[in-house]
């Protein structure tokens, strides 16, 4: 995409996060959408492009009463919203629409009005070759590569636990975070074992919530009430729907391809990055993200986090909302990572990084199946 040609002019989460039994899935989308529209000072009738995942764009358009001229239902898991931002930027630049609404809503905890799980049937390739082996979803498949990563890189269980500790440190600064009590490596390691070597504190939360973004052409951005956030670069890719068929258990190809593309498009170097979000469904994901995006050399991310570089006061603030481990995780967390990047660029985050000008927001979809990366800036130049 063309740098800084498209801007995020509206951003909001659902009014509440956490446990929301009073709202169904589609109303979580709508609640977030209405909040984002109010944030941008727009009316629903101003929206002419719609993108969503987890809910059908047709259902959502009808529910909101929209008449879109551009529709994107890309659904590749929790990073779908990063892909929507990328596709929306291209569509706006091509003149297919002017003002795009991207929504997420998920009743992950309360399970109200939730879309049927679209897991593969027994005749699909994953259903035939992974389905019979007792997998329990993300807790046993997302985690499966990590023992190999540990052995090949020398990363330790203590270093894994430190990821959860550091993200909790960020969450203590955030009144909207689900878990706000500080924790320790010992506590994390002694928590209930879910799927060895991962304890409960190293697995994401399961909560209800939603979020929405509104994008338009950058030259219009100054007419909106909030500080505009510009899209500087974008990337996306997919690898495999089967964890067993990932090319290499120590690195994600989708992360590398998506990250490299986003850095190329944006023209930035790693030194330019003031703030970083790496989708953390499980505590090992920041290791893969830091290495595959090029912030750390192979096998050095464990020590990098252990030495507090990503913690409050560190050189590379990472997952400053508390992340999927401590802030919230409805199932498709990518939207909340994007929301935190927008807040940091607007200067309105709960744990605001002083003078932050560039934020990199990196998402994963499925279990290392897909990836999307968005580079944002508040500098219109």
């Amino acid at each position: 995409m063309r740098r800084n040609s498209v801007s995020i002019v509206g951003a909001a989460e659902t009014t509440d996060l956490g446990k929301i039994p009073g709202l169904s899935q589609i109303q979580l989308h709508a609640d977030a959408a209405l909040n984002a529209i109010a944030d941008a000072g727009l009316k629903l009738s101003d929206i002419d492009g719609i993108a969503t995942a987890g809910e059908s764009p047709t259902n959502l358009s009808h529910y909101l009463g929209l008449v879109p001229t551009w529709v994107d239902g890309t659904s590749v898991g929790g990073c779908s919203f990063m892909l929507h931002v990328r596709h929306a930027a291209a569509a706006i630049n091509e003149g297919l629409c002017n003002t795009v609404l991207i929504t997420h809503g998920e009743s992950g905890r309360s399970n109200v009005g939730r879309s049927a799980f679209r897991g593969g049937g027994r005749s699909t390739i994953p259903g035939q070759f992974e389905g019979p082996y007792g997998g329990m979803g993300p807790t046993t498949s997302f985690t499966l590569p990590f023992l190999r990563y540990m052995k090949d890189t020398g990363t330790t269980a203590e270093q894994l636990a430190m990821v959860a500790v550091v993200q909790r440190a960020w969450a203590t600064k955030n009144p909207r975070a689900t878990l706000q009590t500080p924790t320790t490596v010992e506590e994390v390691m002694n928590d209930r074992m879910i799927a060895y070597p991962f304890t409960k504190s190293e697995c994401c939360l399961v909560t209800d919530g939603g979020g929405a973004l509104i994008l338009t052409r950058a030259e219009r951005a100054k007419d909106f009430p909030n500080k505009p956030v510009y899209i500087l670069g974008t990337g996306e890719s997919v690898e495999t729907p089967m964890i067993s068929q990932m090319e290499d258990f120590t690195t994600s190809r989708a992360f590398r391809v998506s990250g490299q593309k986003a850095f190329e498009e944006s023209g930035i170097t790693h030194k330019d990055v003031d703030h970083l979000m790496i989708y953390d469904a499980f505590a090992h994901l920041p290791f893969y993200g830091l290495e595959d995006l090029g912030f750390c050399k192979k096998g050095e991310a464990g020590a990098f986090i252990w030495e507090q570089n990503t913690a409050p006061g560190g050189s590379l603030p990472l997952n400053t909302n508390g992340g999927g481990l401590s802030y919230m995780h409805s199932g498709m967390y990518g939207m909340y990572a994007l929301q935190e990047s927008v807040r940091q660029m607007r200067g309105t985050a709960a744990a605001q990084i002083a003078d932050a000008k560039i934020s990199v927001c990196h998402g994963v979809g499925g279990m290392f199946a897909a990836s999307g990366t968005i580079v944002m800036t508040n500098d219109p130049a």
């Binding site: 997998g135 023992l147 964890i243």
Partner: protein, 147 residues
Amino acid sequence: MVDKTKIPLPQPTPETAHFWAGTKNETLKLQRCDDCNNVYFPPRPFCPSCASRKVSVFDASGSATLYSYVINNRPHPAFDGPYSIAVVELEEGPRMMSNIINCPQTPEALELDMPLEVVFESMSEEISLPYFQPATSDSKSSDSRNQ
């Protein structure tokens, strides 16, 4: 395993039928590209490396090593207590998911890169699943699986 009926059994498709016919017959079938020699899995009637449709099915040795795993501690109706979900690396190169059986389900007993061999478990009239257990003989470089 305590209850086989709680395992969602594969439903073969035209492209995978040879694999499941093979496991029913206690052989592990892989495919090799006749043009570029690439050995691949899961089954498909073309080479994912060079796109050639000239591919052959052959019997794998059944030897493998333990590439990675987790030990699931949450209850599953088919299993009695914690159990391993593993990815094994076959001697021929491809990797596949399986469970490691006939072995304590502990980090001490499940050592990465340990030698394994395939065993087949009949689950229904149509389906036998390939599982892996610690290697019982030095069959590492042998071409035929000894059973």
